[in-house]
Amino acid sequence: MKDIKISIIGFGDVGQGVVQVLSQKQQTLEKLGVNIKVVAIVDSRSSLVNADGIDLEKAVQVKRDTGIVGKAGSTTAEIIKNTDHDLVVEVTPTDINTGEPGLTNILTAIENGKHVVTSNKGPFARNYAKLMKAAKDHGVILRYEATVGGAMPIINLIQENLAGNTIERIDGILNGTCNYILTRMGEETLDYQHALLEAQELGIAEADPTYDVMGIDAACKLVILANTAYNNNAIFDDVSITGITKITPQALELADKNGYAVRLICEVSEQVLSVAPKLVPKKHPLAVGGTLNIATIHTDLSKMVTISGIGAGSIETASVILSDIIHISTGYLTHTL
C-alpha cells in the first residue's frame, strides 16, 4: 500500500467534512489499497503542516476552539510549493467574479505537479479552459465533481459513464435553495420574502441569498456542465440568467391549477445556456420538491438519463471529493507501481 499525501486548502464546512469522511472511511480506503495521509491544512489565516500525517481529530478541535487551524506566517502558495505531497484538495469559498483565491491555489498546485480535487465553482466560471490546459500541460489530473449538484455525480456520469454519447441537451435543477423556496411558496401560498426567511432560518439559504435567488450559483454550475459536455470554453457571461425573485404565490397557484410547477431550470446545449424559471408539468421527473438537485441528460444513444441527489451539505459534498480523491489515487497507484 502506498501513501497518498494530500493537502486541504480551506478549512470551513467542506474542508472539515473532507477530514471527517477521511477518518470515517479509513477501513474502506484500506480495502481499496489507498492510504490517504493529510500532510497540510490551510485556512484563511493560518496553516498546519506535518509530514508524518496530521492528527485530524485534533485539527478539527483546534479549529473549533480557536477559529484557526495552526500557525500564521506561511502563504498558501508556500505550503503548496514546499510541502512534499501528491494532491491538493481546494475547498476555499467561491467568488464567481474573480475566482479567487481558488484560481491561484489551483494553478499553483498544477504548476507544482500536484493533482487537484475541488468543490470550488468560482475558478471555473471564466477559466475552465485555462485550468484544464494547465493540468494537461503539467501532466496532472484536475477533478471537480463537487462543484455541481452536491452529492449528485453528474460530471462523472457525463465524462465516463456516458462517454461516446453525443449530449444533445441537459435540463436540470442545480440550486437547492431556489427549489426549496419555490416548493414552499407553492405548497403554503407563502410570498417570496417569507419563504426566503424560512429558508434562511433553516440554514438552507445564506444570509446574503443573492448568488442563489438571482440564479448566479446555478449559472456557474451550468458553465461547468457546458464545458464538461461540449468542451466549448463557455464562460459565466455567456449565460442568460433570470432569477426567482419576481415569482408570486398567485402565479404558482395559477400554474398548479393548470397542471404545472414552476422551477428554476438550467438548460445547457450547444446553442443555449440559460437559467430561468420554467413551467414543469407536475408529473415530469424534474418537478422535484425541497432542496433536491436533479438533471436529465438527453443523448443520442442512451436517450434520456435522469440523476438526482442532495445538492448541498458538508458531508454530501465531501463524499464526492472523496470519490475524486480515490479515483486519482487508484489511477496513480496503477500508473506508478
Partner: protein, 163 residues
C-alpha cells in the same frame, strides 16, 4: 382528409403522390383494407400539412387520378404551448399583449386565466397559444418575449419537450 380508392392495385400511390408533389407534409395514413364503402371503394384517412391556398389544386389533381375526396377536415392550428406572465399585466394593456401574438396570423392566444390579487400588486396570467407549425409557435413565443421584456413582465415558458 378522407379519401375513397378503387379496389384495384396502385391506387394508394395515386392518392398520396399529389400531396407530396405540391409539398404537403404527410403525417399519417390509415388504409382501411378490410372495409368497403357502400360504393365498393376502400376508405383511406390521410393527415397532412399543406399551404391552404393549394388545397383546391390538390383536390382537383386527386379527382383527376380517380380518387374520390369524401371529406376535408381542417385544423389550422395544431401546435400548442402554455406560458405564464407575471407583472403588471393589466396596467400594461393586456389587449395589446394578446394582439402582438394574434396579429402574426399564424398563432393565437386561445385561453387566458388571470390572477389579480390586489390593485397595487402584480398579477399573473396563464395562457395557451396555438400555432400552425412549430416554427410559427417559436416565432410567436419570441414576439411575446419581446413584448413582455418591453413591458417589464416576467415570462415563464415550459421546459422543452415536456411530457
Amino acid at each position: 382528409m378522407n379519401l375513397e380508392l378503387k379496389d384495384i392495385p396502385g391506387q394508394l400511390v395515386l392518392a398520396l403522390q399529389p400531396i407530396s408533389e405540391i409539398k404537403g407534409n404527410i403525417l399519417s395514413v390509415v388504409h382501411h383494407h378490410d372495409e368497403r364503402t357502400p360504393r365498393g371503394t376502400i376508405p383511406v384517412h390521410v393527415l397532412f400539412e399543406l399551404n391552404k391556398e393549394k388545397l383546391d389544386e390538390l383536390i382537383e389533381q386527386l379527382e383527376k387520378n380517380g380518387v374520390l375526396v369524401a371529406r376535408v377536415g381542417e385544423k389550422r392550428l395544431h401546435e400548442e404551448m402554455s406560458v405564464m406572465l407575471i407583472g403588471h399585466i393589466v396596467h400594461t394593456d393586456i389587449r395589446d399583449t394578446i394582439d402582438a401574438v394574434d396579429s402574426t396570423g399564424c398563432a393565437e392566444i386561445v385561453d387566458l386565466a388571470l390572477s389579480m390579487p390586489g390593485i397595487e400588486q402584480v398579477s399573473s396570467a396563464f395562457m395557451i397559444i396555438h400555432a400552425s407549425t412549430k416554427e410559427n409557435l417559436m416565432s410567436a413565443l419570441d414576439i411575446l418575449h419581446k413584448t413582455a421584456d418591453e413591458k417589464g413582465l416576467l415570462m415563464i415558458e415550459p421546459i422543452k419537450n415536456a411530457i
